[in-house]
Amino acid sequence: MAVAVAARLSGDLDAAEDAAQEACALALEKWPADGMPANPGAWLAGVARHKALDRVRRESARPGKEAAAARELAAGGYRGVAAPGCAAEARPPDGDADELGLIFMCCHPALDQAARVALTMRSVCGIATADIAAAFLVPEPTMAQRIVRAKRKIIAAGIRMTVPAPGDLPGRLAAVLRVIYLVFNAGYLASSGPALVRRELCEQAVSLARAVTALLPGEPEAAGLLALLLLTDARREARIGEAGDLVLLADQDRSLWDRAAISEGELLLEWALRAGCPGPYQVHAAIAACHSCAASAGETDWRQIAALYGELLRYEPTAVTEANRAVAVAMADGPEAGLRLLASLRTDPRLTRWPQFHIARAELLTRAGRRAEAAEAYDAALKLAMPAPERAHVKRRRGAL
């Protein structure tokens, strides 16, 4: 990634973004005339690196920094080993350590969580501030301010663009994986913004997860997250109907699922699980895999899914996990069994503010033939904020009672 290489050399994110922009401008000028290079990413990173180096030389009032930059150039880069099943993607050879260092810097726990996500989208993925603002439903100046503040803290507090020492890695990696997961969700669950931007966010998140997995092949949770994103993203085309309406998993045309992404995700998950070091992303991925390997909705192994949600409770002991488990139990053992589990959660305010809780109850009540209660549950969901396609879906279900 061009920004990462440049940031590493000049130690300054703004300068790096400028250098990367200069590189892109040069590409726009050169590529139509000279043709596209074989590896555009490496070409851009190379140009950005030279621009950044020029800048460092111009500002050579700081000799220590220039020497460090030269040393890094001379030393070349860390080479990641691709995890099995991970598509061999051509990456600029000395971009690897730079890119990983930049990701760890942007996801540093000394930054506010919302700022980590925004900064990663801006500086690692190169997404425009306006698009990031749209994805999180905040005004653009607010988002710009959030990003600027994070950059200032990085400089003022001395947050370095390095991969943490092995002893610090587990905690720091968890923060990185969380950010990637949030970037993906911002794209997958976006409630507004153009469809193209949403797709870009999902693709960027997958690409980030791929980079982290390739660079840290000994970390099964990174592979688990990549597997989860691939398995989820594989259903993207089937999830939205022709009229832009939401299509539930059970009703999706499974022939629209991206089979290549599914087999890559399944391979990665298998490889991760073999390491014998389970974690929440591996469990989430295993749940997603239960859906992907079912030829039809009716053949889904709900008992297995219910057990996996039980396992997930060890890592994420939240009401949302409990509710998901209740739905899986209902699918395996009948709606009344699920409703009994949900009943114990009805007083949890965090859950009752979550439309999916009411939707799940409504669906189970419908299946149990308790129509009046189902209508009440749908109404409770409609009182809460949710994306337009989902709202339309709930209204349709309510009307069909």
Binding site: H108, G158, I159, T162
Partner: protein
């Protein structure tokens, strides 16, 4: 870079000298200071007299106003400081976590603004 680590204790009073508690506190601090000193990062590490010994000074319109007590009333007690010089925030946070105050109170890591020549 230089980092000031502000030590916020959970209790206003230090243990009584001569007690086992006091001895343990002294030992813990000696260990933490020795480690920072061995690593060559330690510049200063001192406890402060309690806030009751504090005096706040303001100069307004050329007039000096002196008031008893700390500048800001907070629940925690600002009880000491540690000044270190190390490579970056990750190092500073690592050292901050070795300080005894981090275990029962909390410590805040503030970078110093660099003035003059290269850091």
């Amino acid at each position: 870079m230089k980092y000031l680590i502000l030590l916020y204790a959970s209790k206003p009073e230090l243990p009584e000298p001569g007690t086992a508690e006091f001895g343990q506190m002294m030992t813990e601090w000696a260990v933490a200071k020795q480690a920072m000193s061995d690593a060559g990062v330690l510049i200063e590490c001192s406890p402060l007299q309690p806030p009751s010994a504090s005096t706040t000074v303001r100069v307004r319109g050329g007039e000096t106003l002196v008031t008893d007590g700390p500048a800001a009333e907070i629940k925690e007690v600002f009880g000491g400081l540690t000044l270190i010089e190390c490579d970056g925030l990750d190092d500073a946070l690592k050292w901050a976590a070795t300080l005894p105050t981090a275990r029962d109170g909390k410590v805040e890591v503030r970078p110093l603004i660099q003035t003059g020549g290269p850091a």
